[in-house]
């Protein structure tokens, strides 16, 4: 079933065209890797899915509807930046997610934070950047969403933390749900991907099953990416 549909979607900022005639369908139950170099349009696509940017032309449908209250109930979004209110304590943040998202699993969040040795009384502003990112990831993955949209979830953290993050993602999402992960650190995530989408200069240049790519091209996705986007 097509869960997310990009239909002839373009996005420009002024005269600069960031996305060009994107046609793309995302199905339920798959892990998608949205892979491309910096400035290729990954984050713009993700922001459009979440209603933070509006398409200049074309449209996007999520579960048959344009982004709105209903889509936000079923999409769990991790942006590439820290979006938390720094004046909050962890316990207040948990309560915030519990208040606004019916699918938020408080017990799971507390369990995951406990593993990270983060206390509910900890103040967000006193945490390191990496810890804040982990707290944010825990909140996002503690929802029982239909689609998890993760923008550069491993971009700013050390290799040891990357393993923790990937494990958290893999062990905490519904089997029926989809995940869209955007990154340029492909070697770290390629083993978990079902489908690979390459984007370059605002255009989808590849959209194929990860195993098929490996068999057909007889190479890893990381190597294929390096060849495709060689400077």
């Amino acid at each position: 079933m097509q869960f997310v549909q990009f239909q002839d979607l373009s996005k420009s900022f002024g005269t600069k065209e960031i996305l060009k005639d994107i046609n793309l369908d995302l199905e339920k139950g798959k892990i998608y890797g949205l892979l491309g170099p910096n400035g290729s349009g990954k984050t713009t696509m993700i922001k459009i899915i979440n209603g933070l940017l509006q398409p200049s032309s074309g449209k996007i449908l999520i579960n048959g509807c344009e982004p709105g209250i209903e889509s936000k109930k079923i999409i769990s979004y991790l942006p590439e930046r820290t979006y938390l209110n720094m004046n909050m304590k962890v316990s207040e943040l948990i309560q915030f997610f519990k208040d606004f998202y019916d699918d938020f699993d408080e017990k799971k969040a507390i369990k995951l934070l406990y593993k990270l040795k983060i206390k509910e009384t900890d103040q967000l502003k006193n945490m390191s950047k990496g810890t804040k990112e982990k707290v944010q990831l825990v909140m996002v993955m503690s929802r029982k969403a239909d689609l998890y949209v993760l923008d550069e979830p491993i971009g700013g953290v050390d290799p040891a933390s990357r393993d923790y993050i990937l494990e958290t993602i893999l062990t905490n999402f519904n089997e029926d749900a989809s995940i869209l992960i955007s990154t340029h650190l492909i070697s770290d995530i390629e083993k978990i991907l079902d489908q690979v989408i390459f984007i370059n200069q605002g255009k989808i240049v590849l959209n194929e099953d990860a195993d098929t790519i490996r068999k057909k091209k007889k190479t890893t996705i990381d190597k294929l990416f390096r060849e495709e986007f060689k400077c």
Binding site: F13, G14, K47, N50, G51, L52, L53, Q54, I69, E70, K72, K73, I75, Y77, P79, R81, T82, Y83, L84, N85, N87, F96, D99, F100, Y101
Partner: protein
């Protein structure tokens, strides 16, 4: 969901503003003490004058600071990084803006109450006493009740209008790359458009109304009926501008949100 948004907006504004009010209260108490000491010991007269001056500045600054804090909070919460969370909550833009408007208006009105309260704490019995209050009340009693109610309502609508006008300017400004500069430009444009429309609508009526002309020339205090009519007209006009700015803000954040 509006109730939940209000809960968090009230909490976050309280975290910012309660310390400001507490410090102001302490300053009021300190002003009172030092003024009382100055009455007894002349050595305190110079510091008491200095502290009193600071106290007056702080009193004036309390509502201004509250207003500025509420605008900064709106910008940070909906347009800067926190906006990535707020705009992906399953709530309507109408509720997001309404919650900000209600909580901000509450704190601005509260700041006026605190300003008066701190004035009493600081200098009641020193700069003014019961006689002055009685005089003020006897003056107010002479004034028409409807006039007073209209002035009171106009003040509240003016607080709400100023908030919502700036929200609309920020909403329009966020569509551009330089969000702050364009917000200021839109603010100036909206303010001037509102002023011009108000003058265009009010001036001909005033100039052509023979009652108004004779009122200006003759007895300006007793003809409250006429003044109330104009005040009510201006109040309705402000209300209409407030509603227009509110819907501009909601619509732009709905259709043209641009969290680049």
């Amino acid at each position: 969901m509006l109730g939940k948004l209000l809960k968090y907006d009230f909490k976050s504004l309280a975290k910012l503003l309660v310390p400001v009010y507490l410090v102001s209260l302490l300053l009021a108490i300190f002003t009172r003490i030092i003024n009382l000491l100055a009455e007894e010991f002349s050595i305190f007269s110079v510091p008491s004058g200095f502290i009193s001056m600071i106290f007056v500045v702080v009193l004036v600054a309390i509502p201004i600071a509250t207003f500025i804090f509420t605008i900064i909070r709106f910008y940070q919460n909906l347009i800067k990084d926190e906006g990535y969370l707020m705009h992906t909550l399953p709530v309507s833009k109408n509720h997001l803006i309404l919650s900000k408007t209600i909580s901000s208006t509450f704190f601005i009105l509260l700041s006026f109450v605190f300003t008066i309260l701190f004035l009493f704490v600081g200098v009641y019995g020193i700069w003014f006493d019961q006689k002055f209050i009685d005089l003020a009340f006897s003056f107010l009693k002479q004034i028409d009740n409807v006039f007073l109610i209209l002035i009171f309502l106009s003040a509240i609508i003016s607080v709400i209008f100023n908030q919502v006008m700036i929200y609309a300017s920020i909403a329009l400004g966020q569509k551009h790359n330089n969000k702050i500069m364009f917000s200021i430009i839109y603010g100036i444009v909206i303010y001037n458009v509102v002023q011009i429309i108000s003058v265009i609508l009010l001036l001909p009526v005033m100039l052509l109304d023979p009652n108004y002309q004779s009122y200006i020339q003759n007895n300006p205090i007793t003809n409250f009926g006429l003044v109330n009519g104009y005040l009510a007209f201006a109040l309705i006009l402000s209300l209409i501008f407030t509603i227009i700015c509110y819907f501009i803000c909601v619509r732009v954040l709905n259709k043209k949100l641009n969290l680049e």
